[in-house]
């Protein structure tokens, strides 16, 4: 690219830059990302799913908690598009509502995990003194048996939190908190490795020589350069968190039955597989579709943000 530019006259170079807008990392990444066909399809699917959960109830007005035993366990019909559950409640409305919570749990808990992991990783990577103690802490957390511990903590603290924050918010805070606190370790390791190599670079030295303080160097100079792997980890993390939440709900230790997350609906459906398979298949497929598209998007992002793969 540089070679033809040098042969051009000055005027032509200016013309070509106006024809082709400036290329930033993110524009390049987006251009690269668009060529990953599965990732693009997945992005579309995910946007559709989010619209489905957020905008669906605006179009589809059926209430999620209208109980009608005469309609119990009916398959899809024109009145109830995806059928009903054992209490005759409309499944489609419940799925739309539950999807909001499932996706919110995924996003918020990953934000928590990323914040914790980035802070700890950055401190460990930047300040040599903190490296050893913080990494020992990370190793310790990595040795915790995550799923069993989640189950125990949720069981033990559920009632207290429910009493303090109310049924919905209390459980939400707890699940998000526990998933976040038990999943920051890989991010911390990733960020630490990035910081260890980046802090040796000339631009950091340059920043320091003009008098930038440590805090500014970390936040303004090193962190933006370490962002791509964090972004990929975060994307895939959202899928993982949605899976964890639905697993907890499926084991009966997540949200209560009146808060229908996808995992919870599946849990309620598991004893009626023979007479009402639709009740289990729809929420399960939604979880699967969401996580699958998030994983493909993560894969596409990884390719798009990989500097070795520029074309």
């Amino acid at each position: 690219m540089a070679a033809p530019a040098t042969q051009m006259t000055k005027g032509k170079v200016i013309a070509s830059t106006t024809l082709r807008p400036s290329r930033s990392l993110w524009k390049d990444a987006w251009w690269q990302f668009r060529r990953h066909r599965l990732a693009m399809v997945s992005l579309g699917t995910l946007v559709f799913l989010i619209l489905f959960t957020l905008g669906g109830p605006l179009i589809y007005h059926t209430k999620i908690d209208v109980i009608d035993f005469t309609l119990s366990l009916k398959g899809p019909s024109s009145e109830h598009l995806l059928g009903t559950d054992d209490l005759g409640r409309d499944l489609l409305a419940r799925l739309m509502f539950g999807g909001r919570i499932s996706i919110a749990v995924g996003i918020v808990s990953v934000l928590l995990a990323i914040t914790l992991g980035t802070t700890i990783g950055a401190l460990a990577g930047f300040f040599g003194r903190l490296d050893n103690p913080l990494m020992r802490l990370t190793d310790l957390f990595l040795s915790l048996p995550v799923l069993p511990l989640l189950l125990v903590i949720i069981y033990l603290f559920r009632d207290t939190l429910r009493a303090t924050f109310g049924a919905e918010l209390g459980i939400f805070l707890m699940i998000v908190g526990v998933i976040g606190v038990l999943n920051w370790m890989p991010v911390a390791r990733l960020v630490r490795a990035q910081f260890l190599s980046l802090k040796q670079k000339e631009f950091v030295e340059a920043a320091r020589s003009v008098g930038a303080k440590n805090g500014r160097i970390i936040v303004r100079h090193i962190l933006p350069n370490a962002l791509s792997p964090i972004l990929v980890a975060a994307t895939i993390g959202v899928g993982g968190a949605i899976l964890t939440e639905s697993t907890l709900s499926f084991l009966g230790l997540g949200f209560p039955s009146d808060v229908p997350t996808w995992g919870r609906i599946l849990y309620d459906a598991r004893n009626y597989l023979d007479i009402a398979p639709h009740w289990a298949i729809f929420p399960g497929s939604l979880i699967f579709l969401t996580v699958l598209s998030i994983n493909f998007i993560g894969d596409g992002l990884r390719d798009a943000l990989d500097p070795r793969k520029t074309s």
């Binding site: 040795s143 125990v152 697993t247 499926f250 230790l253 398979p277």
Partner: protein, 319 residues
């Protein structure tokens, strides 16, 4: 080498100690009383309840209980279950074979399938096989195990009636028909777990092989005139397998965790099912014991993976 192993061991022991402390503290400091379900029974007079608490040693401050617990653990005594009053060790001994029969076999199948799939995927990158394997892998680790389990039950137990959907642990294998029964009832839980394991390990093997294929030593091997088969199997695969083997070792504890869900769906009376049930019952001694076992498994297999890595890769310096 010996020093390296010793050093790793010396890190592992305090880790287990700290984790046991954390686990115990969480259970001891939790606002939910382990005897709440028992205490909720109005027929139990308060003084009896107090007497039971004292007899169980629940009135001691929790650091004292922790020390008592650790000292008896050191003698191989896990305590007694609040619910069944039998020693926790006996419960674990009953449950462990069921878990191992399902989880162990599934993991074995996963590894055996995954390595060739990952290898062929990498060698024939972007071929039809690779696309198929990639899609399969993404499906494998995106589909929740409880959903695969439920789908299998709907298709094979309810519609086709091929397999039972409740695992019968009382089945004793003594001849061919009972062996076939055992196979029939294990097929679905094993498939569910193996699908996930195969997907993860195959994906990892593929990535490792792809890292190695363009390296210089591969070109050297080819230019020596070695057959492609030898280059791939003897040179590339052997080097790529080092991190894969570590991943396989590291994955063992996770697999036990995943078994919690699978055991729940198919009602396999294993460790995971015992854990979920004991959590529901507030049976603290059983819960602490199982959590500790899971933690020890994690630390043990981390240690094992580190040592394995050092043994397999001569480039690693042990310091």
């Amino acid at each position: 080498m010996g020093r390296y192993i010793l050093r790793r061991l010396l890190i592992a022991i305090p880790t287990v100690a700290v984790i046991s402390f954390v686990v115990f503290a969480i259970l001891a400091l939790a606002p939910t009383d382990p005897l709440s379900s028992f205490g909720a029974d109005p027929r139990v007079p308060p003084e009896v309840r107090a007497a039971i608490r004292t007899s169980l040693g629940l009135d001691d401050p929790w650091p004292v209980r922790y020390v008592k617990w650790v000292t008896s653990l050191a003698q191989g005594n896990f305590g007694f279950s609040f619910m069944s009053h039998s020693p926790v060790v006996d419960l674990l001994k009953q449950r462990l074979p069921n878990t191992l029969a399902v989880v162990g076999v599934a993991y074995l199948i996963g590894v055996v399938l995954a390595i060739p799939i990952g290898m062929i995927s990498a060698v024939r990158r972007y071929s039809l096989f690779d696309h198929f394997a990639t899609t399969f892998a993404f499906i494998g680790f995106s589909v929740p195990t409880f959903f695969t389990g439920i789908l299998l039950i709907i298709v094979f137990s309810i519609n086709l009636r091929w397999f039972p959907f409740i695992y019968d642990s009382t089945l004793v294998i003594h001849d061919l028909p009972t062996f076939l029964d055992q196979v029939k009832q294990s097929i679905m839980p094993i498939t569910v777990l193996a699908l996930f394991d195969t997907a993860t390990i195959a994906r990892y093997t593929r990535a490792e092989m792809l890292e190695h294929l363009p390296l210089d030593y591969v070109r050297t091997a080819r230019s020596k005139g070695l057959k492609e088969q030898v280059v791939v199997l003897r040179h590339v695969l052997r080097n790529s397998l080092i991190p894969v083997v570590t991943l396989v070792a590291l994955g063992v504890p996770t697999v036990f965790g995943g078994a919690i869900v699978t055991e729940q769906i198919f009602r396999v009376p294993g460790i995971g099912e015992l854990l979920v049930r004991s959590i529901g019952d507030g049976d603290t001694p059983v819960v602490t014991a199982i959590l500790l076992i899971f933690a020890v498994l994690v630390v043990l297999f981390n240690l094992f993976a580190d040592i394995l890595y050092a043994v397999l890769d001569p480039r690693i310096k042990y310091t």
